[in-house]
């Protein structure tokens, strides 16, 4: 059996008194599309930077495809392509040379590095800009360059740290198409994002981080099943008060009238709805329209991270405090 793409046990990191990673345990299966969600300062970027060696953990273990990120750092880093949040690209060289250098740092000869750079630029649609310097590109193009640099070595593990922050809808779709293709061809993708709908749509599994810990790991569907769905049944002759049609179903949380509609909130709304329709029919109510709104991953996310944060506000998050203590310079 092949080792997981990422395996982390009790990973710890503190900046002075501020705890950024508080015993993180996480396994990302090889070949998966895995989401890492969490509010600002939850420890997502610190976690990623530990894998590539930009942050040295205080304790715990982390491996990438079975290679310890400190003892076998060369093998671990060779497997990783990282597209960070920041535009940390060499501005002295045209972008095709930036990519060639990155391939060379991974041991590819000049000829192969050149071919790889060309393929990576094709992949992100920037071939026409190959001789431009990074500073001459638009924000969206810069984001593509960062992705191309991560792809130029054909990594087994692609780490995308907030890759669509500040990009337009078209570019976001293009990026996701590229990354989905890569995942389907076997590349493991670890994605951190603030856009919950992206994780909901793309990720097979998500981990939710809060205050330096992984508070939940599950599929997006399993997480959403834990939330409260909303069933809205519009009636032909609505009664003044809500009819007693959900009695005995312990999945139902609340029932009330809202104009000409009966509103029911329940866990597993899709399963509750058929029984509700039958009960309304038995009670003589004529149904005009029925809508079942599933809870969003965002609502579950907020519930989980609020619980993990203990209701504390943004100023108390570890990364924000660490940055503040460091004079605000990351």
């Amino acid at each position: 059996m092949s080792p997981p793409a990422i395996s982390v046990r009790d990973l710890q990191k503190s900046y002075g008194d501020v705890v950024a990673l508080d015993g993180v345990d996480l396994t990302v299966p090889a070949g998966s599309f895995f989401g890492l969600l969490g509010p600002n300062g939850a420890g997502k970027t610190t976690f990623i930077e530990t894998l590539v060696g930009l942050v040295r953990a205080d304790g715990g273990e982390a491996t990438v495809f079975g290679h310890d990120v400190e003892r076998e750092y060369r093998a671990a880093r060779d497997a990783i392509g990282l597209a960070p949040q920041e535009f940390n690209v060499d501005r002295f060289f045209p972008i095709h040379e930036v990519l060639e250098h990155k391939a060379g740092y991974h041991g590819y000869s000049r000829t192969e590095a050149r071919e790889r750079a060309t393929r990576a630029l094709d992949r992100v649609g920037l071939q026409a800009k190959r001789d431009e310097q990074f500073s001459q590109l638009s924000g969206g193009m810069k984001r593509r360059v960062v992705l191309a640099r991560a792809l130029v070595t054909d990594p087994d593990l692609l780490i995308l740290d907030e890759p669509t922050a500040g990009v337009d809808v078209q570019l976001r779709r293009d990026l996701w198409e590229t990354v989905t293709d890569l995942n389907e061809s076997g590349t493991t993708v670890l994605l951190t994002t603030h856009y919950i709908e992206e994780a909901e749509r793309l990720c097979e599994k998500v981990a939710i981080m809060s205050r330096g810990r992984v508070v939940e790991t599950a599929t997006p569907d399993a997480l959403m099943d834990r939330g409260t769905d909303r069933i809205t049944a519009r009636l032909r002759d609505p009664p003044a008060t809500a009819p007693d049609v959900a009695a005995g179903d312990d999945r139902v949380e609340d029932v009330w009238m809202e104009g000409d509609s009966l509103v029911v909130t329940a866990r597993g709304g899709g399963l509750v709805a058929p029984g509700l329709v039958r009960a309304l029919d038995r009670a003589g109510h004529e149904l005009v329209d029925l809508d079942v709104s599933r809870t969003s991953l965002e609502e579950v996310f907020v519930d989980l991270t609020d619980a993990g944060r203990g209701g504390l506000d943004e100023s108390t998050d570890p990364e924000a405090d660490a940055l503040a203590a460091d004079g605000g310079s990351p």
């Binding site: 880093r77 690209v89 991974h106 041991g107």
Partner: protein, 255 residues
């Protein structure tokens, strides 16, 4: 070529191309500065000073100016390149790559040493406009130039890792490098100093470098050149090992 060698060669190439492609920043300043030095110290003052250690003053200062330019550029290139990479975070492309720490240090040091040696050649070229540039001990000349360039490139890497802003780089140059250079017997012979100051001067590594290159060029020396070369080689190795230890610890690079 093995993957490890390709990695090092790529970083050396990147570092060398960075300064070669900026000739106005890289090659013009030492040409202008040394033209001024040769004009003032060689022609204007030199004609009044006459001979020093049996050669014309302009020939006496030439080896010192070669060392001065070479080590300054080796140091500044390494410190700027490492610090700028840290400042803009693009050094992450190197530090997150599967390169050995030894390979990374070797690449940064050798690329900056190359810049120092190129500057040395340029200064000799400028000197040839004003005087002849004899080479009496070529192996010593090359040995001293290479070792001093490597030593100061290594010191520049430390500076680049330790700096927290661009002012730090200026401070290192103005308050550490320049005093060493100007009290390093570039413009005078140690013989003109009182015994106490001559002894104090021997604590300055610049004295050995200038003396060694002067021996290589005009054959004049005040210190045993083989001892000087051995001490400087030891210093260069020690600084390289310190560079290695700093990269292994992630000093200035890893949180």
């Amino acid at each position: 070529m093995s993957a490890s060698r390709v990695q090092v060669a790529t970083l050396i190439r990147r570092e060398v191309l960075r300064f070669v492609r900026r000739p106005y920043n890289t090659f013009l300043p030492p040409i202008i500065t040394n033209t001024l030095y040769f004009s003032v110290f060689g022609i204007i003052l030199g004609s009044r000073i006459g001979t020093v250690a049996g050669v014309s003053y302009i020939q006496f200062v030439l080896p010192g100016l070669v060392v001065l330019g070479s080590i300054s550029d080796a140091f500044e290139n390494a410190s700027f390149s490492v610090f700028h990479g840290r400042w803009e975070d693009y050094i992450d492309a190197v530090t997150t790559a599967p390169m050995s720490h030894r390979g990374v240090v070797a690449a940064y040091v050798s690329a900056s040493a190359v810049r120092g040696l190129l500057t040395a050649v340029l200064i000799v070229g400028v000197g040839l406009v004003f005087t002849s540039a004899p080479v009496t001990h070529p192996f010593h000349l090359v040995g001293f130039l290479v070792v001093t360039a490597v030593l100061f490139a290594g010191l520049g890497v430390i500076g680049g890792l330790a700096a927290t802003d661009f002012d730090n780089l200026t401070v290192m140059n103005q308050f550490i490098l320049r005093p060493l250079v100007f009290f390093g017997a570039v413009f005078y012979s140690l013989d003109v100093l009182p015994p106490l100051w001559r002894t104090v001067s021997l604590l300055n590594p610049m004295v050995y470098m200038v003396d060694g290159v002067r021996y290589g060029m005009i054959g004049v020396t005040e210190i045993d050149p083989n001892v000087s070369l051995a001490v400087l080689t030891g210093a260069a190795v020690a600084v390289f090992l310190l560079n290695l230890a700093l990269f292994e610890r992630g000093f200035g690079l890893t949180e």
